[in-house]
């Protein structure tokens, strides 16, 4: 803090009350994020949180920072534009599984290989909530939804193994039933230099009667307690494919940091134009237009 004062947790909260259903996993995400920002003492006005569309994408309204409540699937490109314009900002993208792994999947892949210093939080409830309960890209096989009354016949996306394959430099999974770990994973992700994915198992208490808090509690385990080494890519991939996978095994779901690399430069570091400082602080217009015209003579 510039004035040496500690920013209180309350200062990260907005005056707007969340509109999520009672018991929604997203409350834990909001609290975890506010705690992470407070732990790191990041000034609220230097944070921009960008979301897409869906229940979880309302999250910017509940924080006191800058926010951009974007259109469906486009939180990552909007966040990328903001980060490139002003790398001094802490930029967080957030949204649901439909938003990030469905309609926005293309951006998700490319953001990871690009390694911009953005933290991406996906509130994964394995269902479309705001549109009242259709199958999502992470809905499990055989799950019955409004759009799949006979049960889902596609295999779900595995966001963790996808992120590992795409070159993400911080890959973690949290669970809304474990608030303590969640806050830590966000703080680590924000501190991580590069693209950080935190996939959060965030149960939908209204439309997903299958993947409930209890269902997860019977299956989750701490990667850290089992001695997982986040620098070991192949170990991370093995743990990632414990669930979901083609064999439909569903008995072990790891929580924590799957993988982290700190030696990969970020996109901003490699972009020569940004070495002179943030774009937003550069002077506008041309100092010497004549030299520019030489090539046209």
């Amino acid at each position: 803090m510039s004035d040496g004062r500690t920013i209180e947790l309350q200062e990260y909260k907005s005056e707007i009350k969340p509109t999520w259903c009672p018991g929604c996993g997203d409350f834990a995400v909001l609290n975890g994020l506010q705690r992470a920002l407070q732990t790191l003492q990041i000034k609220p006005w230097t944070v921009t949180i960008v979301s897409g569309i869906g229940c979880s994408s309302n999250i910017p309204h509940f924080l006191s920072s800058y926010g951009f409540h974007s259109i469906h699937g486009r939180s990552i490109p909007v966040a990328s534009g903001i980060k490139l314009a002003n790398p001094e900002l802490t930029v967080i993208a957030a949204g649901g599984d439909g938003d990030g792994y469905g309609i926005g999947a293309g951006h998700f892949l490319h953001a990871m290989r690009r390694n911009l210093d953005i933290t991406y939080i996906v509130m994964n409830n394995q269902i479309y909530g705001l549109t009242t309960g259709q199958a999502s890209p992470t809905s499990e096989r055989e799950m019955k939804t409004k759009s799949t009354p006979e049960g889902v016949i596609e295999n779900p996306i595995n966001p963790i193994s996808l992120a590992l394959a795409a070159g993400a430099t911080y890959v973690a999974r949290g669970f809304s039933g474990d608030a303590k770990t969640l806050g830590d994973l966000f703080a680590k992700g924000i501190r991580h230099k590069g693209f950080a994915l935190v996939d959060v198992l965030s149960p939908c208490v209204t439309y997903n009667k299958q993947n409930t808090y209890d269902w997860f509690r019977q299956r989750v385990y701490s990667l850290e307690k089992e001695g997982h080494d986040p620098s070991d890519f192949h170990a991370a991939m093995r743990r990632a494919t414990e669930w979901p996978n083609l064999d439909q095994t569903r008995d072990r779901i790891g929580i924590g940091v799957f993988y982290e690399r700190t030696d990969i430069p970020t996109y901003e570091e490699l972009e020569p134009v940004l070495r002179k400082g943030p774009l937003v602080k550069q002077p506008l217009g041309l100092a010497n237009p004549e030299e520019l015209l030489e090539e046209f003579r």
Binding site: I16, T19, K43, P44, W45, T46, T48, V50, I53, N58, P60, H61, S64, S65, Y66, G67, F68, H69, S70, I71, G73, R74, I76, P77, V78, A79, S80, G81, I82, K83, L84, A85, N86, E88, L89, G106, H107, L109, H110, E271, P272, V273, L274, K276, L279, V280, Q282, P283, L284, G285, L286, P289, L292, L293, E294, E295, F296, R297
Partner: protein, 584 residues
């Protein structure tokens, strides 16, 4: 045009280097004090096919690509077959006598066939296969009586001082061609007057880039698509020096949304694409209107629908630009009529986007964007007007209202990082604070009223946009017998047709030309058209997209319509024929 002109055409397969040789030739023309104009006819292939470039140059500004050439350089047999018969009387065909045969080609009277072993001659000066084009270029330079000094200096601007040996080898190769013509009949004797007054030669896309730099553009996000790609190429080339982040992205959805993110964060940002990519951008553009983020989207049209003719021109995307995005949101659509306006309107677009905090669409087309034109110069004294900004330094007095309702519809803008002005930019309908009213508040009487007021606030920006942009230009005699109506790049061929008919047949025609398409200037338009005796709309599309806009805005229907949708630009002769028909 009765003034003296030269028309040069070079053709070959894709990969034969026709385009770069033509560009060199246009540069030599410009350095010889002429105005040059190029039109490239190419295909969506990397090797093979048949592509050709026409360069037309004159002592006066050139308005169109012109028609039949005086000199054709044939790099392969199809060029002779297709273009040989079009060469004007007493013109010339230059070709490689070892690979191209002129047998059976019907040439006009007095056309000289200048066949010699171009490739073999070229090998004496270097191993580059394209050197044979340079030999032919030297031959053409002699036919047109131009000075070899300008060839050398043109090569130097192309290859730079670093590659002096390349420059020298090419100069020698050109000299060989020059010498061959010297020994076989000399010049065509066109009698053009040359000077050392070199102006600037550039494409419409390059002029847009210059305008963007002059206006302080710092961010370009783009996905490759002909004919907009050269904007990204030029900007990428100059990005480090001029402090622009150029980002090639995964698709046009990313391009528009990244540019909007950058605009929201306070940087002058743009994206560029053609119709296909623009179709993907429409939701993002509407978002820009809703969150009130400045952004400039350049739409360089090619022939549609769908993939269409990727390397051909059309003015068929106006409806797309007018209707982009669900619901109503305020936008400005600007369509430069020529290369000068590409520069001026690009710069202006950034001011309008920031002053009105909304997307501005700059519409061009392949004809304007890829053709090289000689221009006198640009006025780089571009004012940079950033519009209403929330005060920096201090905290906001009371609660900051990002979307405060104002008379102009514009609310003071704060940028992320400013303490005390934290807010949400919302794509959902929102109140003055930026808080959404789309879920639990929608339909509650108080918020029905908020929605209405927010909508009206945003749409009021159209009044300011209309005030800050210009109405159409009436060019030509005030009381003409016929008034042409056009927009964008049709200006050149249309003016040439009018001038030709006035000079040769004494017809009195004027032209109402639009560069600012939306918000539409209905009052000025109605005033001009009320005086018009007869009207003919000329557009490069099938349905008369602009004519329909004009009718919707003014209640006036153009009497006649000339549409073109064959992929080629208007030739002045086509417009002349239609004018004669209407006035007959």
């Amino acid at each position: 045009m009765t003034q003296k002109e030269l028309v040069f055409r070079i053709g070959g397969a894709a990969g034969d280097g026709s385009a770069s040789t033509a560009e060199s030739f246009a540069k030599v023309c410009t350095r010889s004090g002429l105005y040059a104009f190029t039109y490239t006819s190419y295909q969506s292939v990397i090797r093979g096919g048949h592509s050709w470039v026409q360069v037309r140059a004159s002592e006066e500004p050139v308005l169109s690509q012109g028609e039949s050439p005086q000199v054709v350089i044939a790099l392969n047999q199809p060029t002779v077959d297709i273009h040989g018969p079009q060469v004007r009387e007493r013109g010339a065909v230059i070709y490689d006598s070892e690979t191209v045969k002129l047998d059976g080609i019907r040439l006009a009277e007095g056309v000289r066939s200048i066949g010699f072993p171009l490739a073999r001659v070229a090998r004496e000066y270097g191993n580059n296969a394209l050197m044979k084009n340079t030999v032919a270029l030297g031959a053409a330079v002699r036919l047109f009586d131009m000075d070899m000094r300008h060839v050398e200096s043109a090569f130097r601007t192309i290859w730079g001082d670093k590659k002096e040996e390349v420059v020298q080898a090419n100069v020698k190769a050109a000299m060989a061609g020059h010498k061959y013509v010297e020994e076989h009949g000399g010049s065509l004797g066109l009698g053009l007057r040359y000077s050392d007054h070199a102006r600037l030669l550039l494409t419409g896309n390059q002029a847009i880039c210059l305008g963007a730099l002059a206006a302080g553009c710092k961010f370009l996000a783009q996905y490759p698509m002909t004919p907009a790609s050269s904007i990204m190429h030029w900007m990428a080339d100059h990005a480090p020096q001029y402090g622009v982040v150029v980002k090639q992205v995964e698709d046009e959805l990313a391009a528009i949304n990244m540019a909007i993110g950058a605009g929201f964060a306070g940087v002058r940002a743009m994206t560029a694409t053609s119709g296909g990519g623009f179709s993907l951008m429409v939701e993002g553009l509407g978002q820009g209107g809703m969150v009130e983020a400045p952004v400039v989207a350049v739409l360089v049209s090619r022939t549609g629908p769908s993939t269409g003719l990727p390397t051909k021109t059309e003015q068929g995307d106006l409806n797309l630009a007018l209707g982009a995005g669900q619901g109503d949101w305020p936008r400005a659509i600007l369509a430069p009529r020529n290369t000068d306006e590409c520069f001026r309107l690009a710069a202006e677009a950034f001011n309008l986007a920031e002053v009105y905090q909304t997307p501005v669409i700059l519409m061009s087309d392949l004809y304007l964007s890829e053709g090289y034109r000689t221009v006198d110069g640009f006025d780089f004294n571009v004012p940079i007007i950033r519009g209403l900004l929330a005060q920096d330094g201090g905290e906001a007095e009371g609660r900051y209202l990002r979307y405060k309702i104002t008379e102009s519809g514009v609310s003071p803008r704060a940028l992320p990082g400013q303490k005390g002005f934290e807010h949400i930019a919302g794509s959902d309908e929102h109140d003055e604070k930026g808080e959404l009213i789309s879920d639990v508040l929608a339909g509650i009487p108080e918020y029905v009223e908020v929605r209405k007021r927010m909508m009206e606030k945003r749409m009021r920006k159209l009044d300011g946009l209309r005030r800050d942009t210009k109405g159409p230009e009436l060019w030509g005699p005030q009381d003409a017998d016929l008034t042409l109506i056009s927009w964008g790049s049709t200006q050149g061929p249309l003016r040439e047709a009018v001038l030709n008919l006035q000079e040769t047949e004494g017809l009195s025609v004027n032209s109402l030309e639009f560069s600012y398409l939306f918000p539409f200037h209905a009052e000025e338009t109605r005033a001009v058209l009320a005086r018009a005796k007869r009207t003919l709309a000329v557009e490069g599309n099938f349905t008369g997209q602009f004519s329909r806009l004009l009718t919707a805005e003014t209640g006036i229907r153009p009497d006649r319509f000339l549409g073109k949708y064959d992929g080629e630009p208007f030739a002045p002769s086509e417009i002349e024929a239609k004018i004669r028909e209407v006035l007959a």
